[in-house]
Subunit: 315 residues, 2 copies
């Protein structure tokens, strides 16, 4: 059974934002005193100074997703990456509501009980919406993250590769991921802090596909929506998702960056949106100057002779 | 009389870093237990894991400044902007130590007693090093910051313009300013947060001059040196500087950004350096695509028909 909470004064600046998000931040509170700007119902959220009731918040949320779909003329089958977490659940559900042609898949990363719990939640979500979930197992490629020195790096490489491969082999024009505004901003800052501009590339809501490299287009439908808004969407729609955090991510440096960004956003709403706009424009100005090749082993795109995935896979 | 302090465990992550920096952060402490890596003397600073005594810290500092001078082949007269504050004092003194041809100047911004105190400190510094300080008075152009709605914006425009004009009219090839690593990183983040990429341009240690636009080259000799290191340099060399903060800057949003950046740097030394490298590379990739014109009123460079300075000046 999913319990539904009335949410009020949900604060962006709460510490440890991404750790145990659910327990710390979602409070059962008496109804808000504010009214929705668009009807007489009670407001559940304040976005850039405007109050929204549940229904109008969902409309706002879907409007932000639709703005990405429309801007880039998304039309065709979309492979939707589900992680079992709140963001990909919100992403999948919103695309479903917009009546797009979807093919949901889940990559089982073999991380102890975490991966099993997440897979179960993703399956439940798919069942509830009438989809069959496709499962990809990272162990089939001989990768065991528990044995890796840099599990997050290996996991990232594997996920990027397997998402594209799944979409390509299943005749999808696009892969959609649940990266939200909070992720986009955090990711960019983290890359600056590591002087890693290579990773900064592609940090925008839509990346074109390249048929000759078997590269499917990538979309981030939640690009304009904050962590908090995704959470609220998930709650209002009573979607199943895993509350668990990946055990490898708990000490990630990005957590401190995300906390600070939300603290600043709390003081001056709109700075995250401005940062995402800045990074998107920067990314467009830079363009992709790195030369693409075709991996000699697998035939997919690579920046060197053998792609990163073929280097990390054991079989 | 200048009092000299032995500094130890000077902490980057102290809150309110830029406000009352002096009082909060410089402590009279018993001598450090660590030895300098390069001699037997007591260490006063730890930089990226290495300990430095006073003498070797000064050598390190001058080495960082020299790296900028050498990389860009700086050779010719440099107009040095003095604000009376610690950074421009450190910048001027280090360029003097490197035996460059310098012409120091001060822009009196007419900000109550603050401008008078700063001018006095800049004059004392120049006298102690055997230079005559040139004074530019913003009031001569009919600008009174106290009357302005956005004094910081008007001040920025006026300073940029008058620095270049002074250098150009006095046959200098360069203008040097005291922007340090902390400033560079803070400035870039603040521009991202305001979606102001126009200002992001030029955020690098050296910007070429353009004779046809009467634009003198700009250098930031302290580009690789943190707030804290500039402060230590000023103390070791017993330089005069104004401790006062500009009354307009006290509530500036950049203060929070700077505090956070130093907090993160304290946890993971090197991230500020990485960010500055990232921003410099980004800036180079973007290049300057904005078209320059010649201002119809004053004949200096402008992005529109009339330059910003001619728009704000009253006479």
């Amino acid at each position: 059974m999913v319990i539904f909470f009335v949410i009020r004064d949900f604060d962006d600046s709460t510490p440890n934002f991404s750790q145990n998000f659910f327990k710390r931040n979602l409070l059962i509170l008496p109804a808000s005193k504010m009214k929705c700007e668009y009807c007489e119902k009670e407001a559940v959220e304040n976005i850039y100074g405007r109050y929204y009731c549940e229904n109008h918040f969902v409309k706002y949320f879907l409007g932000r997703v639709r703005s990405i779909i429309d801007k880039f003329g998304i039309n065709g089958r979309i492979a939707v990456a589900l992680s079992g977490g709140k963001d990909s659940s919100a992403c999948f559900h919103s695309l479903h509501k917009l009546k797009l042609d979807l093919l949901p898949f889940y990559i089982n990363l073999g991380i102890e009980s975490y991966s099993e719990i997440c897979q179960k939640k993703a399956e439940e979500l798919c069942n509830s919406l009438g989809y069959r979930l496709h499962i990809i197992d990272i162990n089939e490629y001989g990768i065991n993250l528990a044995d890796e020195k840099k599990p997050c790096s290996v996991c990232g490489t594997a996920k990027r590769y397997l998402m594209n491969k799944f979409a390509y082999e299943n005749n999808c024009k696009y892969v959609a991921t649940g990266h939200n505004l909070s992720d986009v901003v955090t990711f960019a800052l983290n890359n600056f802090m590591n002087a890693n501009l290579m990773n900064f590339r592609g940090n925008r809501p839509y990346l074109e596909g390249k048929e000759e490299y078997k590269m499917v287009a990538k979309i981030k439908p939640l690009y304009w929506l904050k962590d908090k808004e995704c959470m609220l969407y998930v709650y209002i729609n009573r979607l199943r998702y895993a509350e668990e955090e990946c055990p490898h991510a708990i000490s990630a440096p990005t957590i401190q960056i995300k906390e600070w960004i939300h603290e600043m956003e709390g003081k001056k709403p709109g700075i995250m949106l401005n940062m995402a706009k800045s990074f998107w424009r920067l990314e467009e100005m830079i363009g992709s100057k790195a030369k693409l090749n075709i991996c000699r082993k697998c035939g997919y795109a690579s920046y060197s002779k053998i792609c990163k995935f073929c280097k990390i896979r054991k079989r």
